[in-house]
Structures are given as structure tokens and as C-alpha cells.
């Protein structure tokens, strides 16, 4: 696998980076003069903080938004957006190699161009980042402050030498990578899910530690881009939280891509010898060592609670677990709410965004919205994607809820066959004897899009029997959902007889 030399890439990278800084944290920016009191102050300008600030501004509330680094937070800068961009390119390479499957010819040479891949990542990141640039936020009526925020009282904080008094505040400082402590790894050097997008050269041999969503996504992507990739997962299956079958399919998919899968394996230590990183692995009582050029720690996140002066504000928190909130996202200080990764178990872009708006509605507009009432889907963006919403079967069993699963394999769906995308399934869980949807797991190339139909049905209390009557366009992969619904409808009719 060759890598063309691209002399212009460094220049492009520098230009992209300058543009990004200019939009998301301009060096010449002067913080505004603070009024005597803000109705709302938002600490952190990631997805949660941006949603909070925009929700307030759209309703005419004067709001201050404080960010110590770049606007957009993890999602735009180091998370969702760059990872999806790199995944898309890697998928293209995989399809090129797999061209015969689609009745096409494999190109004579498939030259990966990592510099071009990363240039595209940065270009897309810049473009999407502009949506929440400092100029646009200011134009929307948001007072943007750059600097480290620190609470100095129950309703006051300081930033860049200024003291902001507030009626209400939302803490939305997010989370950061917090890799497990492994002897030697710090000395050897490693990437996290945040720093990996800054690399400029594809590592020849990559070790990914962790078989959660981040680890699986990046292992597959870098393997497809040409890195000889090994993934190490301490548990016997990937994606511990998901259904076993989803994890099984993912294992097979990664192996098919050429990823060396090491389940039930932990990293005991890392050593640097002659420039190579020697990684000692242990699986039960079997020990071996592999040599790699780069390590990506794809596990561990820690909420950003340090240095905020939360004690002064009377906000209870726990290092490693984050700010404590109730079902209304309110902290132990009744004037302060929290949103996003700093307080939620669900660490996704959409949950951050939703929680930011909810926190403001509850804090400022006397809302009574409960987090536990939300129906939250999520997706692991591997190929195939793994998407889930609602309850898991094991959780239903534990709670004594009788559950029945209607499963349709993707190879039963015409469009999946014509697309040669037959790997996966749709499983919809209903309360046994009824058509009430309790949850769903979808493993499919486009599972992330498909899960939204189930989420809508659950949100609107639409039974699975009704979904059977919804006309789904032929020929689409979403027909899998209709087929599962038809199975449920047949079962219901059979019971009625």
C-alpha cells in the first residue's frame, strides 16, 4: 500500500488550522464587558454549552458563554466530526478493495493518501465549526468569554480577571480522555481519541487499546487506511453494553477487514526498544509481546470538574464521575444546572445537545423536563454500524419485564442483498403479548439512520403493530423494520384467534 507524497499538505494543514483558530478561538478576541448580572452563564462551549447558550439567546435571555479552548468542544474538534470524516474515507478504501463484491474491478493500485484524508478531515471540521463561530454566536446575542472559569460563590464566577454574577448557570465543561494507567505507556507515548486526528503520517503498525465504540471505530478505520492494526479488549466481547450478537458480528467484521482482534486480553506494559514500542499482552495465563509504531488509547473518559471552584459554589461532584445532578439536571446548588458529558452517563453529541437545551429550560424557564423520560438512541459508527434505543433484553429480564424480540436478518431484506450489505439485523423488543416497543438494536450498514424510526415510534407511543401498516418504500433497507413489525402483527393476530 503506497502513500503518495503530497508536498502541499503541510501548507494546507497550516491554513486550515489558522482558519479554525480564527473562527473558534481568535487570538485577538477581547472578552466583552460584563454587565452587573447575567440571567444565565454557561461554562463550556461544547455541544451542551452551545445548545444552552443558543436556547437562552433565542428566547431573549442575555447569556454569557465561557470557553477555555475552542468553541465546539469535543464533537466538532476532536470527536464526532473528525471521526466520521475519517471513517468515510476508510470506508471508500474498503469498498475499493471489495469492488468485486459489487460487480466491479478492484483498481490496479489502491494508493492510500493519508495526508489527503486528514486534510479532508480538517477541512470538514472547519466548515462545520463555522456554524458556531465566535462571530455567529456574538451575532446571536451571546457574550462569548475565553478563559478559565472558576466559581467564587453560589452565584458568581471569575473568568480572565472579570467576575460574572448570575441568576442561573449551566456547567457544560465536558469530559476528556483518561486512559487507564499502564506501566510505560506515558514514556512510550500514545494517542487518544482527541489527539489521533492531529497525526500527519499513518502509523505502519497501530495498537488500539479498548474495544468500546471509540476503539472499534478507529481500529477499523485505521486498518482500512492501511495501518496494520491490532485491537486489544479486556472483556471477552466488544461493545460490552450491546447485545452479544451485535458484538459477535462486529468481531467478525473487524477480522474480515484484517484487524487483529485480541479479546480477553489486557496490556500489562509498554517498553521502547530501538524506537519501536513493545507491548506486553496477557490473556488469562498466556503472555506475548507485539511491536507497534503507535498506540491509540481508546478507553477511559474523565469529566472536567477540576479547577472550576465547584466547592465554592456548593456543587457536589466526584472526580471520575462528574457533577451530581438530579433528574432535572439540577446540581446541589439550586442556581446551577449541568449538561453534557460532565454529568451524564450517555456521552454522545446528541445527548450533550439535548441536555444543554433542557438544562436551560429547567433552570431559566421553570421547565420540569426529566432526563429519565427521554428516549435516547446511540450508534457505534463501525461498518456495520451498531445502533440501539430503549431497553436491553438482559435489563428487561432483570427487571422482570416479559420481553419478546422480533428479529429480521438483513439478508432477508431485498435492498440489503442488492447492496451487498447483508451483514446485520434489526431486533425490536416488545412487551410480550403486546406491540409496545421497549427498545431495538440494529446492526446494519446504515443502522444509525434506521434507528430513528424506532425512536420516533417509541416517543410517539406508536405500537409495533402500527409500524407494520406504515408503507415503507421498496427497495430500502428500512424495510427490515417493517418486516419485524409484520412479524409482531402476525403474532398479535394469532393471539387474538
Amino acid at each position: 500500500m503506497s502513500q503518495p507524497n503530497n508536498p502541499g499538505s503541510a501548507t494546507l494543514q497550516a491554513i486550515n488550522e489558522r482558519e479554525r483558530i480564527a473562527e473558534l478561538h481568535p487570538t485577538s478576541w477581547a472578552n466583552p464587558d460584563a454587565p452587573e448580572r447575567y440571567p444565565l452563564v454557561v461554562v463550556g462551549a461544547g455541544f451542551a454549552g452551545l445548545a444552552a447558550a443558543r436556547t437562552a439567546a433565542e428566547r431573549g435571555i442575555k447569556v454569557a458563554l465561557i470557553e477555555r479552548s475552542l468553541l465546539g468542544g469535543t464533537c466538532i474538534n476532536t470527536g464526532c466530526v473528525p471521526s466520521k470524516a475519517i471513517i468515510r474515507t476508510s470506508r471508500l478504501y474498503a469498498e475499493m478493495r471489495d469492488a468485486v463484491r459489487y460487480g466491479a474491478q478492484v483498481p490496479p493500485t489502491i494508493a492510500t493518501d493519508f495526508a489527503a484524508t486528514m486534510e479532508r478531515v480538517r477541512r470538514i471540521r472547519n466548515r462545520l465549526g463555522q456554524r458556531d463561530s465566535v462571530r455567529r454566536l456574538a451575532a446571536a446575542g451571546v457574550d462569548v468569554f475565553f478563559g478559565n472559569a472558576r466559581f467564587v460563590g453560589a452565584q458568581a464566577l471569575t473568568v480572565d480577571g472579570a467576575t460574572l454574577h448570575f441568576d442561573k448557570a449551566v456547567i457544560a465543561t465536558g469530559a476528556r480522555p483518561n486512559p487507564p494507567s499502564i506501566p510505560g505507556i506515558a514514556e512510550a507515548g500514545y494517542f487518544t481519541n482527541e489527539s489521533i486526528f492531529e497525526i500527519t503520517k499513518l502509523p505502519r503498525r497501530l495498537l488500539v487499546i479498548g474495544g468500546g465504540p471509540i476503539g472499534c471505530e478507529q481500529a477499523q478505520a485505521f486498518c482500512r487506511l492501511g495501518a496494520r492494526t491490532t485491537i486489544v479488549q479486556i472483556r471477552p466481547l466488544f461493545l460490552e453494553r450491546e447485545e452479544r450478537d451485535a458484538a459477535q458480528i462486529l468481531s467478525t467484521a473487524l477480522a474480515r477487514d484484517g484487524v487483529e482482534v485480541r479479546l480477553n486480553t489486557r496490556v500489562r506494559g509498554v517498553r521502547v526498544v530501538h524506537g519501536g514500542k513493545l507491548v506486553d499482552l496477557v490473556s488469562d495465563d498466556y503472555e506475548n509481546t507485539i511491536e507497534v509504531d503507535a498506540i491509540l488509547a481508546g478507553v477511559g473518559r474523565a469529566p472536567n470538574v477540576e479547577g472550576l471552584g465547584l466547592e465554592a459554589a456548593g456543587v457536589e461532584y466526584e472526580i471520575g464521575k462528574g457533577v451530581h445532578v438530579d433528574d432535572f439536571l439540577r446540581t446541589s446548588n439550586r442556581h446551577i444546572h449541568a449538561a453534557g458529558d460532565v454529568c451524564l452517563q450517555h456521552e454522545y453529541g446528541h445527548t450533550a445537545w439535548i441536555s444543554g437545551g433542557m438544562a436551560v429550560r429547567n433552570a431559566v424557564f421553570r421547565g420540569r423536563e426529566r432526563w429519565s423520560k427521554l428516549i435516547i438512541p446511540w450508534v457505534t459508527f463501525t461498518d456495520p454500524e451498531v445502533a440501539h434505543v430503549g431497553i436491553y433484553v438482559r435489563e428487561a429480564n432483570r427487571r422482570g419485564i416479559p420481553v419478546k424480540t422480533f428479529t429480521v436478518l438483513m439478508h432477508e431484506v431485498d435492498r440489503a442483498v442488492t447492496d451487498s450489505e447483508e451483514t446485520g439485523f434489526v431486533k425490536i423488543y416488545v412487551r410480550e403479548g403486546t406491540d409496545r416497543i421497549l427498545g431495538a438494536t440494529i446492526v446494519a450498514r446504515h443502522a444509525g439512520d434506521m434507528i430513528n424510526e424506532i425512536t420516533l415510534a417509541m416517543m410517539a407511543n406508536i405500537g409495533l403493530g402500527t409500524l407494520a401498516k406504515v408503507i415503507h418504500t421498496y427497495d430500502t433497507q428500512a424495510e427490515a423494520i417493517q418486516k419485524a413489525a409484520q412479524g409482531c402483527a402476525r403474532a398479535m393476530a394469532s393471539m387474538a384467534r
Partner: protein, 453 residues
Amino acid sequence: MDNQVPRRTDGRPPAAGDLASWPDAALLETLQRAAFEYFPRNSDPVTGLVADTSRARSPCSIAVVGFALAAYPIGVERGWIARADAVQRILAALRFFDASDQSGSPAGTGFKGFYYHFLDMHTGARVWRSELSMVDSALLIAGVLTAATYFTGTNAAERELRALAESLYRRIDWCWAQNGATTMRMGWKPESGFLNYGWEGYTEAIVMYVMAMGSPTHPISPQAYQGWTSTYQWENLYGHDCLYGGPLFMHQFSHAWIDFRGIRDRFMQEKRSDYFENSRRATYIQREYAKHNPNEFAGYDANGWGLSACDGPVGAWVAASGAVQPTFGYAARGVPYGPDDGTLSVPSVLASLPFAPDMALQAVRNLLARYPEVLSDARLSTGLNPTLANANGTAWVSAGHYGLDQGIVTMMIENHSSGLVWQLMRACLPIRRGLQHAGFRGGWLEHPIEGPS
């Protein structure tokens, strides 16, 4: 019955192509007898241990010993082995296990009444750094109990056999195998302790839980069983409501011993099904999967199915579709979620006989006719991969024979034709007690113990 079996005039075992056209009874008896003969041929006369495979230098698999111990009563009933010979072979194994090193040392034989998965055939010492295996120990003990239930003679040998069997069963510390958790652990190693793997989802482990609950000395609580069943997945697959388990062996191994027809635990009462019916449906799901054949493997169709634990090719190859297809060697293949590399287990098809006799027989005949290379010495090879045929069109076939396959084939043909093992185990007190503690009700469990017919 022996007289009904056609023989080649040259005395050699019948060829697969011939067998495929034989009448049902003759076909089954030939395959069953050949399968049974695996055990005396691959046993160590001193230790009584039985080889995992017929390949040279194969170690013993303790689960295969369990199948052998359950097969000997069948051999006696069928007239394939003298009763006294069978008793001596069983006694050799029981004496060995009784006196074996139970210190848990790396080179020992077992610990806490359980045994390492693979043992040296002649010394009984642990090999391959294998794990102390809970389920394989359970399959061994199921065989021990079968033998003890069958050999009820009053002579010294059979009395000793029963005493040793009881001793081996009583000394198993099933509670230890929970390691403080609700459910049982899968294994333990002296070097690293309990394995990460626990039992999650329906598997062949039901017989293990039953014996663990029926133990007079170290019984696990019914909550352990409930904890396990709470991980079950009840799914509608291809239109069949089924308790999901991917590979066929999961739907067969416990059924080799326990007659699940008409008896139901709480889970099956709620689902208005039973485990026997579930295995029938699982068999149909296997066929449906093969008909869909999503990976376009050769040989998969309505009469070409059977994904289970078996040996298969190793490495990767490029399919006609262009896809790189990894292969998995010895692995538990399953439907519909995989893994699937185009390898079929014909013994698992034959072992489906009690659940779907017509379908299983039709498939076995078809596979024998299409791929005669899967049969040698009238015994079925463990793995068949028609997609990876050689230049002559001969399918890839795993070398030699596996004891687990021969055991399940011997027992399931017998259960299909006479129900002998099921009858025996209905009268086995630990099994009855364990089933009752697990909450099984109805059917034969409500009736007094019957003797073997």
C-alpha cells in the same frame, strides 16, 4: 438389528455413496455403531481416558470421556460390547479420576472435583495449559451418572462402579465454581484464577446447572439458575419463536442426557414451550439460514445445513464475491449471527434426529451423497467445507474424527430409536432433584421413577 445392516463383500466399511441410499434403520445403525466404536478404539486401557480426536498424539478430552461412559450402556444393549468389558472400561476411568491429583497444581488433573479440559492419555496430567472446565467436567459427570444408573448389577465390579460414581459426583464443589457470582464461571486456571467468561445466554450448560442443583453436598441455589435464565434471548427468527443459541450443539448436548419433552421450567412455562420443542425450532432455523445462505457458500441449502462447534480450515481466502473470507479452525459456528465460514458439521445434523427426524435424515443422506469424503470408516468427519473444494472438486474435510461428534451421534440416534439414555436419566436421582430445584414441572417429572425399558 445387526443382521439388517448390509455389508460390503470385501468386509470394508460401507462407502458414503452407498449408505446414502440405505433404508433408515440400516443407515442409522451403521453410523451409530461406527460412532460407538470410536470409544473403545481410542481409549487408554489403563486410565480409561478417551482421546479428543483420532489423530495421532491427541490428548484426552474429559467431555469425550463423559460421552464414552454414556455410550457403553448403549453398546451393551446393542450387543456391540460385552457387559463385563464395558464395566471394566468404565471402572478404569472412574478409578483414575477417583485417585487423580486434585491439588489444582498446573500439572495435576483437577481441583475441587472438577477436571482440566485436556489430559495426557496415559498419565492424566493436564496438557496444553488447559482450563479447569466446568461444563466439560459436567459432561463427564453426566456420563458417570449414566453408567451408574445403568449398571445396577450386584457383582463387585458394578457395585464399585456405582460407589466411585457417587464419590466423584459428591466431591464436586459447584458453589466454588460460582466464585461469589450468581452464575457459574466457565473455567479456572491455576496460573490466573477464574476465566473472565461467565455463562450468558442459553447454551449446553443446562445439564451442568441441573447436576449442580441436584448435588447432595455442594448444591448451588435455584437463584443461580434463575440468574442464568435471566440472560436468555427469546426471539422470533425466520418466523419461529425460539430461545436463541447459535450453534446446534447448544441445543443438543444437554438433550443427549435429559428428556426435556413436556417438562418446563419457569421460563418455558411463560413461553408455553419446552426445551425439546425449542431444539426442534432451532433446527428449522438452521435450515432457513442455509436456504438464505447470505455468504453464498457452496453446499448450503434446504438439505445442506448444520453450523455447530467443529474443526474447519484455517487462514483466509478470497471468495467468488471478492470478499476476503476468514476461516476459523476449530470454532463454535452458529446461525444466524455467525461466525460462519462455510464449514458444516454433519454430525450435528445427525444429532438433530430426535427433534426433526425427517429433515435431519434427508440432509444427512444428501450430504453423504454429495460429499462422500465426509465419511471414513463409516464415521462422520467433524467439519466439511464444500466452498473450499480442491481442484478435483473434493470438499475440505477435517482429518480424522472427533470424540464429541461420535458421542453425540451415538446418544442421539439411541434416544431417537429407543430413548434408552433418556429413560435412564429419568431414573437418576441427582438429575430429577436438580430439575425440580430448577423449577421444572410437568411431564415425566410428575411420575414415579421408572426402570429402563
